[in-house]
Amino acid sequence: MGRYVLRRLLHLLPILFVVSFVVFAMLLLLPGDPTLTLLGDQATQAQRAALRHAMGFDQSIPVQYLRWLLRLLSGDFGRSLRTQEPVGEMLATRVPVTLELTVLSMVLSVAIGLPLGIVASLRRGRPTDVAIRVIGTSGIALPHFWAGILLIMLLSVRLGWLPPSGYVPIWVDPVANLRLMIMPCLMLGLSLSALILRQTRAAMLQALSEDYIRTARAKGASALRVVIRHALRNALIPIVSVIGLQFGALIGGVVITEMIFSLPGLGRMIIEGIFNRDFAPLQAAILFVVIGTMTVNLLTDLTYAALDKRVQL
């Protein structure tokens, strides 16, 4: 296991290099004078020249990249052009929001998709199975931003059960926080839960048809024990892998979810950065999101390996 982890980490190095270079290159590719974007059009020529020198725009690209990377690694993410707020502090307030949103969405997706998938597999071909599969298929195709709007229309505007948007930190008021987070998490987790449902059903059907299930039943194991202990355990591997594979898509959805529900997370930071042409926070937020995604993918692979002793490490 140790060697496997090491090999996976080494594999990540070239990817990290490409990712960081792409994010760095956003500044290089800006049309025109980058100081115009970074300082706005009010700055004097002297200020521009000073910034150009400070940012190292007068040096070669590899030198600029290394200096940029070293600054990031030392924890200096620069300042927001608009608010002058240090980007590090912006990240500190925004990462928890996005983290809560994604973690809760994943938990919710598993809580919805897994039981429905198991029930569908046990009721194969019966009306329950058909109904669950229809829900699953539409859940996958439903554009999540539309689902979010429909949720607000139904649960907030019509029924008045939940507040339509806003954010309260969980340590300030946990109940208010959860009431505000339910709809965003449902929206964000919608297609993931549908995919988990589909994968669970398929994997359970596969597992239930194996010889060891017949053996377990023949031994007189209870129906529940057969399902949980024998079938589900073996079905978990493909289910875990679908969660890992789809995490990137989930994170992509964070941007729109945070815009719809006015959540001050990394996604909003990206959009605000784009509209304000404020590149320091924009680059930092993108880098954080990508590295977060890579971390989740790594963890999924490790879980996968730990779950299945047959995977050659």
Binding site: M26, M153, G252, V255, I256
Partner: protein, 293 residues
């Protein structure tokens, strides 16, 4: 988001030459795929002939009919400043389809070329290309698209380029994988032995064998591209107003949630179009995949 489901594991095989007619027959046997294709054809025709199909001018403002629910005059109601929603949806198909087809065509052309060359030449070039592809694919695709739009600025062309870029690595990977298998085949070895140039081998011996699966993969990617396009438009990073686009109409509806038709119909249009693209893609895959039958 949902279209991305298809990229999990790509197991497309080289299409067998001369199966075009049979593949078409198999495609037509699938009801959902045919339904999707019919919808898409209607959508394309509607987009092309929009000025004649649409009941109203999409930008005409009916001041006395702001936010009216669906009626005989305005089939799907009017929006927040009194424009006809059904007409805006029909015209909105223009931008969406243009971006989707443009982006997939660019991704196919560029990605397949990179994959062909990378797989055929091999060596350090192949290593570098694959590492760059790994790096680009580490980005969640919408985030990469947002980074591109952030640099180039929001516009229809830039949305197309951004969505194309997110799709290029997978096209390159798909073609490269097949080229690696094909280049050991006798007919490719023979071509090399009689002195065929690299360009000739790629164009005449490799490309015809991979084109089938590339086209199938392209059709599987259209639904994801449409969702990406709607997402960018929703975020205000697509076509500039007043040009109608589905995603942007949906974004506007957030401010008028009690007038349900403003948000329901644009979303429904995107939903049905995504479903249609999905059905067509699945149908194409099943029609070309001779072994799964």
């Amino acid at each position: 988001m949902s279209g991305i489901a298809a990229t999990g594991a790509i197991t497309l095989r080289p299409a067998v030459a001369g199966t075009g007619g049979r593949a078409l027959r198999r495609f037509l046997q699938q009801r959902m795929a045919v339904a999707g294709a019919v919808f898409l054809v209607l959508l394309v025709l509607g987009a092309i002939f929009a000025p004649w199909v649409a009941p109203h001018d999409p930008e005409e403002v009916f001041w006395d009919a702001v936010r009216t629910p669906p009626s005989a005059e305005f089939w799907l109601g009017t929006d927040e400043i009194g424009r006809d929603i059904v007409s805006r949806l029909i015209f909105g198909a223009r931008v969406s389809l243009q971006i989707v087809f443009g982006a997939i065509a660019i991704a196919l052309g560029v990605g397949a070329t990179i994959g062909l060359v990378s797989g055929h030449v091999g060596g350090w070039l192949d290593d570098i290309v694959m590492r760059v592809a790994d790096g680009l694919q580490a980005f969640p695709s919408l985030i990469l698209a947002l980074a591109v739009v952030a640099v180039l600025g929001p516009s229809v062309t830039n949305a197309m380029l951004a969505i194309a870029l997110t799709n290029i690595p997978e096209f390159a990977r798909l073609v490269r994988g097949q080229v690696l298998l094909l280049r050991e085949q006798d007919y490719v070895q023979a071509a090399r032995a009689i002195g065929a140039s690299d360009l000739r081998i790629m164009a005449y011996h490799l490309w015809p064998s991979v084109v089938g699966s590339v086209v199938v993969y392209a059709s599987l990617r259209t639904s994801g591209a449409l969702l990406a396009e709607s997402s960018l438009a929703f975020l205000g990073l697509g076509a500039a107003p007043p040009t109608p686009s589905w995603g942007q109409m949906l974004a506007t509806s957030l401010s008028y949630l009690s007038d349900w038709w403003i948000g329901v119909f644009p979303g429904l249009t995107i939903f049905v179009a995504v479903l249609a693209f999905n059905f067509i893609g699945d149908g194409m895959r099943d029609a070309f995949d001779t072994r799964s039958r």
